[in-house]
Subunit: 643 residues, 2 copies
């Protein structure tokens, strides 16, 4: 694809935003074929599904499905690369993106990570090439967030050596499952594993669901979720199983198996710990969803900013020509702080992707040491929080962009409507955002090793840890670098310039630490009898603490990235974008800072004024800042965004 | 339609929310036929359009199209009733609602209000019965908000007695016009009226666009806007005119005409004043859009609250059964303050509808006294502001409801997706919300009579009025009643209970007045040279002042309504809902109150705690509060919202 040539500054910024996998991104930009990645709005459900399946097959034929799978079975590149590729594909149609995610990430990923050699040898090549399309059947009608309570059963019959997969109630029906309604031939079914000894908690079993001709297999009832608010090209559907028998070998047995005597065996004793270890291997899904949402937000910003840079409406007095709408402060206010936040989130996304590769890359699968487990929990916490913040940001940003483009923004050809409709459910799937933020809070408040014992809603209450005050949780890598910036700022809050990076970091740190400590203090008073009520009464506080923790992680990622850049115009520009992100975030929560004596009223108002100033200062650089996002030219088709 | 029987309390609350046209609402509830009002998601554009047109014709056949038209030509009921009917129809499919609005409100309304007897006699019966479908062709490619700059021309040819309607440029093409792409046979075309003397500004001309067979007439090029982000059943399209001739009699001549000598004549001398008087007669469109959006928000809340009252997820410790999700504070926080705001906006909507009837009802058309004009401008200001706040509230609320329903909320059968997609553009059409809030600020800051002279972007700057401080602008009717509540509260801010109505009102008053005064002070320093820049730099401040003015009007409407109720459980409940609205609004802006010394930090945090408490106190009454909305049972089809 021909890319229009960005300025030197834009190129430098892009390289920073591209991060560790910048070569992969560049390769994608060159190779991306719009027809293989874009949708056509308005077709029927069946047309959209057919198109998406065709595109998936084409991309698989070009080898895109191999990224991140074990090289021993034909995989290519590394695990982190699969997330980066997903991000880049997020500039295309999101139905296709989700379909790719279901096939290669969820279905393929579960076989790769929860299965063992026998599953890999038999299925991975077929999965990577798109010849075996599969589903990831976790969610049930009655249970979305509370996966531990799934009702589907997989009962071992030692007589025959079969696992009997069954849907005992209406609420146990698998639903919203991608690849179910039309294409999937096999499903990874999450079910309570039962042997003669009793139940062993949720495990995953490979269950064939359709024959070669596409008909449901005996005992499998397949439904179609039909029309949704978005993602028309994804064939979400339902599965119900009536005593469906599969060989014991279909149990994905990396973390639990049934031996030849019919005994359950697992390297992990605690059922809870086993469950969370299994789920933990699937953390990539959340990394990808956050990254994909981030791409959607960036694409919307590119469209709205390019349009806002051309569209004129209302003349200033004494002039005949109308004013370019992006010259209005209100328009800048709508778009530029969101652009700054997209920059910030990109950089944070890069860091979690790198960390994912470190912990889950080649040779890291299988059980782990205590130390690894803590690192894994820390990653899960960060990923959960970033997923929530990225997806809400995307939703909010695409909507703001739609409104900023007026009636034109509502026309399908200008892409924002579909983007908005599609990305909506990103806030729900792979973990409901509100539930995820609670996970973040729990991760911060709970000593990991104790978490294994009891993971219900308020286990954390009785275990609020001294870790909080001691700050044992490492948030980002370049700690020393940040500490240097922070040290300079300490103790002179009200005198620091608002663009002092150390002061900004210190504000994010204070907001996160103080709110978390506050939650800790409140919850520590709980007794077993009052625990639920106390936790519930503090829920808004808990969610605030979690979100501000994520904000801090994001800000630290941004500050580090700026600090690492070579001096010059690109760094100066990036520094302003970072300040805009920081100050807009502080402004949003300035009530909290005022309430807690972290800002006085004069300074609080100065923050608002400085956000305005930064918007106006960045205004002339909008085209550079959009180019730096590196969205492949051919993937933005909106007529209003063309030069 | 059978309506399930609400409790006595719910019935009383409903009566208050129903307001002056409660009989019409009750009649609608009894008569409404779901098949005539609901859509079916997922059909093709053509299917949706066909269905909507059929429904419109059916409703017209039942007489719904006659509401609000002059009785002399077969109209029924009053002008305000047409808005209330629109609100009630807003519980059905929103494509149908918009189509009804285009036909009876915009097209029919323009003929009725901008036309005179000759147009009424010839067209109204055909319009009311849906036999003549028409379009309201105002927006052009190049001009949406800035209507005064429309480029289409209507040039009088005295030789032939024709008006020649013409589209001189690409940017003059009419676009996003409902009823254009498929159904409209005639259009009210807004164009610069030109006679031999020169241009007289924007006027409306009736232009036939299709023949009986549905083919475009000579010189008329009709385009199709195609797929949009929502409203699939509305046939938005484009018109371009190539020297299209219509008789001079087609000029809608209530405010300007061409006499037999070819001279332009008008009862209003100033072109600006004439333009705004013409637009002013169309204020009903904004009343309707606000009301329709309000209904969409209420329907979404009913769905999400009913589901939240049944859905369980995660067990509390020591219990086997999972917790009902609406028992979680976070869930209450998502939905209940928005429900309270829906109550508040309903009551404010009722007041503007009554005021519209007073000013625009039977016998009020035509030119007016100075006093009438001031009342008219005041109404326009209030309507503009309420439309912006209602439509943003709807968008935000439907989204929160969607997320609160998780994956189920994303399924088309549960209605939220289509509601969300459809209501999106309500923030843009009938006036972009941001532009409308600026209008509000202008209305508040400018002496009306001076406004006629110059209405460009910053005319207000040089005219900031002493009115601000003197509070000349009357906001609601029962001023004495409110004053009594306010007087009690004065001077003891920090001691008042948070549920003291007078204190709450005073907080809304202070926020609105102080921010408006602040804007006034900033803008008064402007000179002609610096005016644009100063206005632009203050734009966020201007928008805040406008929004808080609307908030105040809304709060006053709510406070009055509660105060008027008879003592008893219904009033007690309504009182709590009012407090929740008030405190959630104060909480949202607590940074402002802190910055301006209107709250101290202790009290600010107490507001947050009290919002939580009110959510928990209202929780047991959710079903009553939903019933009180009075949404016809049969119009909520979402499976998740059924008992």
């Amino acid at each position: 694809m021909t890319q229009h040539r960005p300025t030197e500054t834009a190129t430098q910024l892009r390289s920073v935003l591209d991060g560790a996998w910048r070569d992969l991104r560049e390769e994608f930009r060159e190779r991306a074929v719009p027809d293989q990645l874009l949708g056509e709005p308005g077709g029927s459900l069946e047309e959209q599904r057919e198109r998406v399946t065709r595109q998936l097959t084409e991309l698989a034929a070009e080898g895109y499905g191999r990224v991140g799978f074990p090289h021993a079975y034909g995989g290519e590149r590394d695990y982190g690369a699969s997330c980066v590729l997903f991000e880049m594909q997020g500039y295309g149609d999101l139905s296709l993106l989700v379909k790719l995610g279901v096939q290669f990430g969820l279905f393929g990923g579960a076989v790769a990570r929860l299965g063992t050699e026998r599953h890999h040898a038999e299925h991975l090549e077929q999965i990577m090439t798109g010849k075996l399309l599969g589903a990831f059947a976790m969610t049930e009608v009655g249970h979305g967030s509370n996966v531990a309570r799934l009702e589907t059963t997989a009962t071992y019959d030692h007589e025959t050596g079969d696992l009997v997969v069954h849907t005992p109630t209406e609420s146990a029906v698998k639903t919203y499952i991608g690849n179910a309604a039309r294409d999937g031939r096999m499903a990874v079914v999450f079910a309570q594993l039962i042997t003669d000894e009793g139940s062993h908690g949720v495990h995953a079993v490979l269950v064939p669901v359709r024959d070669e001709a596409g008909n449901a297999l005996p005992g499998v009832t397949i439904g179609d979720n039909g029309v949704k608010a978005g993602l028309p090209g994804v064939d979400n559907g339902t599965f119900a199983f009536d005593q469906v028998r599969v060989p014991k070998a279909n149990l994905l047995n990396a973390f639990g198996d049934i031996d030849d005597e019919g005994q359950y065996v697992s390297p992990i004793d605690s059922e809870n710990r086993r469950f969370f270890t299994m789920l933990g291997t699937l953390v990539r899904g959340r990394v990808c969803v956050g990254g994909g949402a981030g791409s959607a937000a960036k694409k919307a910003l590119a469209i709205a900013l390019r349009y806002g840079d051309q569209r004129r409406q209302f003349e200033a007095p004494g002039t005949e020509q109308e004013t370019v709408v992006l010259d209005y402060l209100a328009h800048q206010r709508k778009l530029l702080p969101r652009l700054a936040k997209s920059y910030a989130l990109s950089l944070a996304q890069n860091l979690v992707t790198e960390r994912l590769e470190e912990l889950h890359g080649a040779g890291t699968a299988g059980t782990r040491s205590q130390e690894d487990e803590e690192a894994q929990r820390e990653l899960e916490t960060r990923v959960a929080g970033l997923k929530a913040v990225q997806t809400w940001h995307a939703l909010d940003t695409i909507q703001a962009c739609r409104e900023a483009c007026g009636g034109a923004g509502y026309m399908a050809e200008n892409e924002l409507g579909q983007l908005r409709a599609d990305v909506d459910v990103f806030t729900t799937f792979e973990g409901d955002n509100t539930v995820l933020l609670q996970l973040v809070a729990k991760g911060l408040l709970t000593e990991y090793k104790e978490m294994w014992g009891d993971l219900d809603q308020v286990a954390m209450v009785s275990m609020v840890s001294k870790q909080v005050a001691e700050g044992l949780v490492e948030r980002t890598t370049g700690r020393a670098r940040l500490q240097r910036l922070l040290d300079v700022a300490k103790g002179r809050d009200d005198d620091s310039a608002l663009d002092d990076r150390g002061w900004q970091l210190s504000m994010f740190e204070q907001r996160a630490d103080h709110s978390l400590e506050g939650v800790g203090r409140r919850l520590r008073k709980a007794t077993p009898e009052t625990a639920f009520e106390m936790f519930n009464n503090a829920q808004d506080h808990v969610l605030f603490a979690a979100r501000t923790h994520v904000d801090r992680v994001v800000m630290e990622a941004f500050a580090e990235a700026v600090d690492e850049m070579d001096e010059g115009p690109a760094k100066e520009l990036m520094d302003q974008v970072c300040s805009l992100y920081a100050l807009a975030s502080i402004e949003e929560d300035r009530a909290w800072f005022l309430e807690h004596g972290r800002l006085n009223t004069t300074r609080s108002r100065a923050v608002t004024a400085q956000v305005n100033t930064l918007c106006q200062q960045l205004r002339p650089h909008v085209s550079t800042l959009v180019d730096a996002l590196g969205i492949p030219d051919g993937l933005i088709t909106a007529p209003i965004a063309q030069a």
